[in-house]
């Protein structure tokens, strides 16, 4: 046996081990992010489940005791909870869809060459950059104010009196503010889609004598699909958690007419100090979200996999 042969003989049996090590070396850069995310975002949910089985009011120290599924029974028999859940669906779906339609329309307008295009785009993205708390305050005061608000001033030629929009239509008012903030996001995404269209296909369609609308429906829209789906999923992720706008504009009121689940749970936990009950609501929300998002995730994944070919 020569020396090299000897070495090979030594190395070969070890290969599984070194392949494992190689795997760990490859995995190593991923681990800090993974571990951090698990600790900060997943552990709290385990606690949430634990708290949801307790009757625990922060105002009465030592009141914590195991009550089984009592909190869940209360959640499901709470008619306010059902109303608030419905508000959440309406608010999220409404804001996502309207801002997507507007965003797509604005993107189509911007996807042309004209003087001042960059400037108009800058104007249009600004609502997305504004701090949501500041934006909500802006809508509540200078825009929606019944006496001095701009909305009523603009509508006054049409006979709108001093309508108090926020009191009369609390949920819709919140939605208007959200649509204003999220339309730029949808616009940027769909504009990105429009600008990545294969130029030759568009040209070919035009040479073939296809009309603008036919080109839009047959070429542009299928191409945009991935971007629209991404926008809807990301928009829904953020909008379902809407808190700032409701906190600033309506405080969920009147009653719970404009409260969504985040705001309602916040009220129960931080104003009612009912930890058990709010934890149970949190668990219910998580389960509902998982159901909806498995569907949404499938969508987003399909679009990313096709992208990789």
């Amino acid at each position: 046996m020569t020396v090299t042969e000897q070495r090979q003989a030594e190395i070969v049996p070890r290969q599984p081990a070194s392949a494992g090590r190689e795997g760990w070396i490859r995995r190593a850069p991923l681990l800090p992010a993974l571990i951090f995310t698990i600790i900060v975002t997943q552990l709290p949910f385990l606690f949430t489940i634990y708290y949801s089985l307790q009757s625990w009011n922060l105002v009465r120290p030592g009141s914590a005791q195991f009550v089984g599924l009592d909190n869940y029974v209360k959640v499901f028999t709470d008619s306010q909870f059902r109303g608030v859940a419905l508000n959440t669906v309406v608010l999220t779906a409404g804001a996502v869809l309207i801002s997507m339609v507007l965003g797509l329309a604005f993107a189509l307008l911007l996807d042309r060459r004209f003087r001042g295009r960059g400037f108009v785009r800058t104007l249009l993205i600004t609502p997305f950059l504004i701090t949501p708390v500041a934006a909500a305050l802006l809508w509540k005061t200078v825009l929606f104010d019944p006496t001095y608000g701009l909305i009523n001033f603009v509508l006054s030629p049409f006979g709108a009196g001093q309508t108090d929009w926020i009191s009369a239509f609390p949920l819709t008012s919140v939605m208007v503010a959200l649509v204003w903030q999220w339309t730029p996001f949808m616009m940027l995404l769909t504009l990105a889609g429009l600008q990545s269209q294969p130029h030759d296909v568009l040209e070919a369609a035009r040479v073939d004598g296809a009309g603008s609308f036919a080109i839009f429906r047959e070429v542009t829209l299928p191409h945009l699909r991935r971007f629209i789906e991404l926008g809807i999923v990301l928009g829904a992720i953020y909008l379902v958690n809407t808190f700032d706008a409701i906190y600033m504009m309506t405080q969920g009121g009147p009653g719970t007419a404009s409260a969504n689940l985040p705001f309602y749970i916040y009220q129960r936990a931080f104003l009612g100090f009912d930890i058990g009950q709010s934890a149970a609501m949190g668990v219910v929300v998580v389960i509902a979200t998982i159901l909806v998002s498995t569907f949404a995730l499938r969508l987003i994944f399909r679009s990313f996999q096709t992208e990789e070919g």
């Binding site: 951090f36 004209f114 997305f128 701090t131 949501p132 668990v283």
Partner: protein, 293 residues
Amino acid sequence: MAAPTTERPASAGDTRELAPARRGNRAGPALLTVLTWIVGIGFFFPILWMVLTAFKKEADAYTSPPSLFFTPTLEQFETVFSSGIGPYLLNSLFATVMSTVFVLLLAVPAAYAVSLRPVKKTQDVLFFFISTKMLPVVAAIVPIYVVVNDIGMLDNIWTLVVLYTAMNLPIAVWMMRSFFQEVPKELLEAASMDGASLWRSMREVVLPVVSPGIAATSLICVIFAWNEFFFAVNLTAATAATVPVFLVGFITSEGLYFAKLCAAATMCALPVVVAGWIAQNKLVQGLSFGAVK
């Protein structure tokens, strides 16, 4: 990615060549341009109005019809500063910068691991990251509050740094991944054949391709961290509160005076708006997950 081969390298700017049906009817495009301008100005108008109102005296802010002409004053901004926005601005700055740095430190290696040298189950890992964003924050706030309270970290800026890092990390991993996928693998292999160290191939091959992605990802993280309100309002009080919390407190202490509020809201929103304006193309790149270069 299959798409980029057919994509024109459209920078988000105006380099695009589109040959619209120019011949014949010229009024159509002109009308569309006018419409685009009206939409743009209409959407921006509330912000313009906010900034204008911030320079008004309270008496000018409360007029019906709204007054467009007035003598500008810095009175309101003086009030905002004298009511102590300073520490809040510093807290926001600290939480934003630190959390963005941590996000990058964690997300860049993670994205490298799932794109350039894919580990097994890459899809599962990516799925996990994005799924954490799907879980509503509100469901975690109760235990987070209890734990943070127990370890004495309520009203501590580091609490926000940690939470903002976790909040932005999944999106950052996804964004960085899309940029890492653009790195030409052949170049990397060639570099390692030439015996280039990992560090050198990182610096010379990977970094030039990925650095615009780092800029875009940072910008998105900065926007979300600076604007965050839910954690800030629930977990901080006098010492660690950020600007959005200041704004809410300002209403309580100063009342609903339009001009003062507009000045405070302008101060609150200004840093991120300016950053977003300056780095607009980065914003587009980041939000489209690298679909636009």
